[in-house]
Symmetry: D3
Subunit: 163 residues, 6 copies
């Protein structure tokens, strides 16, 4: 059975030793949503066209946070990302904004944490920029969608985690 | 009607001007949950006693992230936090770990983003430390629970945002 | 006669002691330009409307860098900025993009370095995002335009430093 | 015709995907100048010998900033620099201090942004340390001088960008 | 009896709540030494005059680290330092370089950690710059020398902690 | 005879050029101690079991600082650590807590500075969390214990540096 790998036999928290691992191409996709009020949904949608660009700022924030991942998550290894992007999907009926972060690297460990951190900070940035209109927004359904590369192979989430 | 405050009249993203605001005592509480598999729930629960302390690491990560908030969220002001803590509540039936982050400051703007960032990074750290056992964990229901201080007064979430 | 203030009498580099200074409202405006080729100028102008938003990304980068100023400039004091914005002016004839950064604080020292750093990083970001089209761009005329607050009073640049 | 590469087909700002690129030896040289008043020029020149070392501090600041480049410029990839130096040339007649930053790496993308950032922060540090004597200093002529390695081969600036 | 203050009654690590504390002028002095081989001692001494300035670089590193203290020490509050300096004393007979870091602030908590961090990083930088000559250097006797301000009043170390 | 390698022939501080070096597996072990009062020693020992976990927090701080090493030590190269851990040994008779930091990488330069920085920040964190009980604690005997990999081969400290 699998165990928590971030502890040694004495219970010390450690960065897992990946010295012997191969460098392989890796990618990960994560997603999450922020549920907002109608007026916020409308302001963001219109804002991207004519007033101010909430999603543009959130996109930059998400990418910069993905690069900072190893400074935020204590036991994460630093990786040199070879690609990173954050995209948004507007779900009008549900009044939700979905963020999707795709990260790639060539390295010894995977980039799922980078993708999850990118999504989280992109959504937090939307919250920040819209909080004067609505403090009741909820961020949720943050999950790993897909992961490729490395010994553990391909992971793909089967069910829809949010709807 | 209220508007997006992080843009000027030309649509430029800006840090809102708080120069004229009073310094007042402020606090904010945010929360969120990570839904994990049974084996992960058990490993975390036991780990805090005898093997390795997932929640101890996540607690430190959350506090350090709350302090870093203004580096992550582009339009946030830097604030000198006067208090920060992250607590965890184990929901065995739901197989969920709830993180609650409480932040205080004496300053010109509120600390809700610091609390939300603290919660998010604490939960991401739990994900990271348990992902070898389960990649299907979902982070959600991240919301502001309470906010005090400043011109806008007290905010308190009425409904339960997660259950 | 005035002297270099960042050294003590033994020639040690020091952060100037501002413990006894009053906290006052302060602001600073800095500016600078990047001279680009025609195709770059056009791509940036159009991009802000329909393809990709170079200036939007540069604006975020400038604001975030202004907040990071004390980490970059060794002898600068950390200040809590109460306001920060970066604006761009397109000079079509000169094929130049001008960045103007305005910063405010209530504190013991001025914010001219924050404004200058904001301008510099905004312009460097434009360089980065356009360098695939033109590596010959030149960044220049970075200067302090105005400064208010503190014992030294108002500074206002009289001549036009770039044209 | 070449295009802005930092956007995908939908206009999203992205870190360019370099996963498939070869790791090659790369170097870049950037330069820039700060034009200062006579008294500042003299203070800096003498200071390096007997009072306090403005250029020594600026050198350290420039190298540390080059290493931080990917945290400042949103779409830049992190690279492990294998070499970095900042040198200064005193132009007495023009009352200018020229900074030259040379950076090397073995990696998938070039280091021109690291060199340009190193130059910019070195010059900003000189400004900071001398601003008590003169607020009218101007930073300019920041440009890429040379670039080697990678698919695009050798770039060398032909004209003198500053004089 | 005094207790560990960085934990709440449930054993959670917390940033101590200082919201109710007065802002007062505070200062702290810390020191430490690095014991080096004769050739290193000589190289550093001469270097400061004619070759390269080990101590100049270490001074900048120490000041910058003092400013970064709250990012390094998890439960430390961010403080706006109003003054920071690092000085070196050469002990030729003992072949030791002593670093002394003095920090001031006007704030709600003390700056002893800032001073201790400044000393530590200054000494580590000396180690780094000299390690090609001698890997056997030892850093030690890092202690708080003096502390003023705040409710606990003046602390002054009575014995000499290193000799 | 060996010389200071962090300066070029003109005395400029530089990051040593390692472009031509091979990537090899490297490791380093560093150690150090903090000497504390009896009550502190007891509080830490008991705290790890039932109240609050000083050493758990210090462990996280040490690992995160090792990853941040190149931001703290000006002339250090960034390296992607493949493994990092911090362990503590309680010396009851001497009333000392010893920290040992082990770091690995596959890279062009060694990781001794990462290990030394990890030890230093872990010990500073213990100081911070116990300083309400005792301000007289002394940190010392920080040294490199072992180093493997790279051209210079194996280094192993022969004498015991602290006892």
């Amino acid at each position: 059975m699998e165990e928590l790998t971030h502890f040694d036999q004495n219970g010390n928290a450690v960065m897992v030793d990946v010295s012997e691992k191969e460098e392989t191409k890796r990618m990960a996709v994560a997603r999450g949503v922020i549920t907002v009020s109608r007026p916020v949904f409308q302001a963001v949608t219109e804002g991207t066209v004519k007033k101010g660009d909430v999603l543009g700022v959130a996109q930059v924030a998400g990418i910069m946070a993905a690069k900072k991942n190893s400074e935020l998550i204590p036991m994460c290894h630093l990786l040199m990302l070879t690609s990173c992007k954050v995209e948004f999907i507007m779900h009008e009926e549900a009044s939700q904004i979905e963020a999707v972060c795709t990260v790639k690297t060539v390295g010894k460990t995977g980039v799922e944490m980078e993708a999850l951190t990118g999504v989280s900070v992109a959504l937090l940035t939307i919250y920040d920029m819209c909080k004067a209109m609505d403090r009741g927004m909820v961020i949720g359904d943050i999950c790993l969608v897909e992961k490729r590369g490395g010994k553990s192979g391909i992971y793909r989430r089967e069910d829809e985690c949010c709807d």
